[in-house]
């Protein structure tokens, strides 16, 4: 079984506020944990393979739980898949407590070590960050091998999205179960879309960029984001069990996102795909016995 927990589901910039309480305001951060035992109680002792996709501001709420376990004692081993290096996917790191605890081992995976390391180092430069404590954890940077590699016990494959400055989709396979993460991606280039559908084929869960309404997308073509309608259509092509619409625009309040969710669910009605709207705190279990 794979458990996917959404700590941040917003795009661009953190968007707190009363109007956003249901879906939340933190930017991209998704924790993926695998369990060999298919019991709810198994989740209380996180021992299975775990990795985190992207380090947006959702890290702020994830770290609280982490610091009371191995990471607080300097015995943590964390793996971050970084889809790309735009700030909304990295901005959680400067205040991510496990990075300041000696003994923790944190490995980042990106498309090139050079781009990945330059971005993390810029985040922590004294111009932008206060450097109150030293970065005591051991940090490693690795390149994602597109054809597949083992990361923290998951078999991970990557594919290119259509996004300015490049971004990657990831497929995380654990036994018979697979989760695919595709943000930031603009639907519309046939070759790229075909490759992503292939990457997602047979997966149970696909997390997709759905930042815009179709009308907003018309005015924002080339920005590297999709409408909720285009994202849902892509998910239907791959025939995944569950599509999670993700990377909500900061200007979309709860009312708007409920409406977009209804639109997408109507579109997927009658198919075998269930559409969910991502929200901060959402947990989806993949492959749990019904």
């Amino acid at each position: 079984m794979i458990r996917v927990k959404f700590w941040g589901t917003r795009g661009s910039i953190t968007a707190p506020g009363r109007a956003n309480i249901h879906f939340g305001g933190h930017t991209a951060c998704v924790e993926v944990t695998a369990f060999d035992v298919d019991e709810p109680g198994a989740a209380t002792h996180i021992s299975g393979p775990r990795l985190i996709i992207d380090g947006g501001s959702g890290l702020a709420t994830l770290q609280g739980a982490m610091m009371t376990s191995a990471c607080g004692r300097g015995q943590g081993e964390l793996h971050f898949l970084v889809s790309h290096y735009h700030w909304d996917h990295l901005i959680g790191f400067p205040f991510f407590s496990p990075m300041f605890v000696a003994g923790n081992q944190i490995t980042f995976y990106g498309d090139t070590v050079e781009r990945l390391q330059a971005s993390i180092e810029r985040l922590f430069s004294s111009t932008y960050a206060p450097q109150m404590e030293s970065l005591a954890a051991r940090l490693d940077y690795k390149t994602i091998e597109a054809e597949g590699m083992n990361v923290a016990g998951f078999q991970v494959r990557a594919a290119q999205n259509r996004h300015p400055g490049k971004a990657m989709s990831f497929r995380l396979q654990y036994g018979p179960h697979a989760v695919v993460y595709s943000t930031d991606h603009e639907v519309g280039d046939p070759d790229t879309d075909r490759a992503l559908v292939e990457l997602a084929r047979g997966a149970q869960l696909w997390i997709l960029d759905s930042m815009f309404t179709p009308a907003e997308w018309e005015k924002s073509q080339g920005w590297g984001h999709s409408s909720h309608i285009a994202a849902t259509e892509l998910a239907l092509q791959a025939g995944v069990e569950t599509a999670v619409l993700f990377h909500h625009a900061p200007a979309h309040d709860d009312e708007m996102l409920f409406q977009m969710g209804r639109d997408a669910m109507t579109l997927a009605g009658g198919s075998s795909t269930t559409v969910l709207m991502a929200r901060d705190g959402l947990v989806v279990d993949v492959g749990r016995q019904k």
């Binding site: 953190t14 707190p16 901005i91 400055g165």
Partner: protein, 303 residues
């Protein structure tokens, strides 16, 4: 003069359900005068919402003008600038003043946020007319209807406190600043180690900047127990904010720059503590909250 709070949180923006009353956006304050002049302090994540509001007015037609003061360039105080829509509208005019950061000019620091690798919109797309002014802490500035005095605060690198005067009112903003008696960490605020003479010297300098303000907006990130081991972080407690309000003889104190781990209840507790500890003092204490508006009367005092 009017003051609207668009962000009162410190360190990083946070979007928890138990924080909606004080808000989760990082620092941004908007001042407007009777004559229609605008002044903004800091471009934390809250400035996105201010930008939306301004675009409904003359900034939407490319006819807006504002002065922007940057306290310092740590992420939580500048991360909203790339999402400040009036910057992307030709014709809008800004004076943006900052002391920069050690060895770096403010323009380069803001451009650095738009590096190709890390942000999709290039810095060149900011087509508004922005005049960048770099100054040394202690300088006096004049912009639009505003008379501005500056002082260096006790925070890693270079951080500036601002005294803003217009319409006969005075507001002083000290964010971020730490307890001077325990660790002097602001660049050039140094000394071998804390001693009474230097502590007094720096306290007096800050108090002079905030003297007799109608409102002092002051860093209040921590409770006392949280300061242990963090004196060098450059943040204050209720006790520090009250000390400055007393020394400066201000009329009103607004607690500000709340820790992202603090819930609304925690901030309520800080406010109650501040009011308990200031019984007998001549100033009133409030806690800044996102969306809050503070109006000032003719010739001073809050309404």
């Amino acid at each position: 003069m009017n003051l609207t709070v668009y962000g009162a949180r410190g360190s990083y923006p946070i979007a928890r359900r138990d924080q909606v009353r004080y808000g989760g956006n990082t620092t941004c304050l908007h001042f407007s005068t009777r004559s229609g002049h605008n002044l903004i302090i800091d471009g934390g994540s809250g400035i996105r919402l201010l930008g939306n509001r301004l675009m409904e007015q003359e900034f939407g037609q490319g006819q807006g003008e504002a002065t922007i003061l940057v306290s310092h360039t740590h992420w939580d105080h500048i991360m909203g600038f790339p999402f400040f829509t009036p910057f992307y509208n030709r014709g809008n005019r800004f004076v943006l003043a900052s002391a920069g950061q050690t060895g770096s000019h403010i323009r380069d620091i803001l451009a650095g946020q738009h590096a190709d690798l890390n942000f999709p919109v290039p810095f060149e797309n900011l087509v508004a007319d922005v005049e960048y002014i770099a100054f040394e802490p202690g300088a006096t500035l004049k912009s639009g209807a505003f008379h501005i005095e500056t002082v260096q605060l006790n925070h890693p690198g270079i951080t500036v406190g601002y005294r803003v005067q217009a319409d006969g009112c005075t507001v002083t903003v000290f964010s971020d600043t730490g307890r001077i008696s325990r660790a002097r960490i602001g660049e050039a605020m140094g000394g071998p180690k804390p001693d009474k003479v230097y502590t007094r010297y720096h306290l007096d300098k800050l108090a002079y900047c905030a003297r007799a303000s109608d409102l002092l907006v002051h860093d209040c990130q921590f409770f006392e127990y949280q300061m242990v081991g963090r004196y060098h972080w450059g943040h204050s407690t209720v006790e520090d904010a009250l000390q400055m309000a007393r020394l400066a003889g201000v009329k009103k104190l607004a607690l500000f720059h709340f820790d992202p781990n603090h819930s609304d209840t925690d901030v309520d507790e800080q406010l109650v503590l501040a009011r308990d500890l200031s019984v007998g003092d001549s100033f009133e204490v409030i806690a800044a909250a996102e969306g809050q508006q503070i109006q000032f009367g003719e010739g001073g005092g809050t309404l």
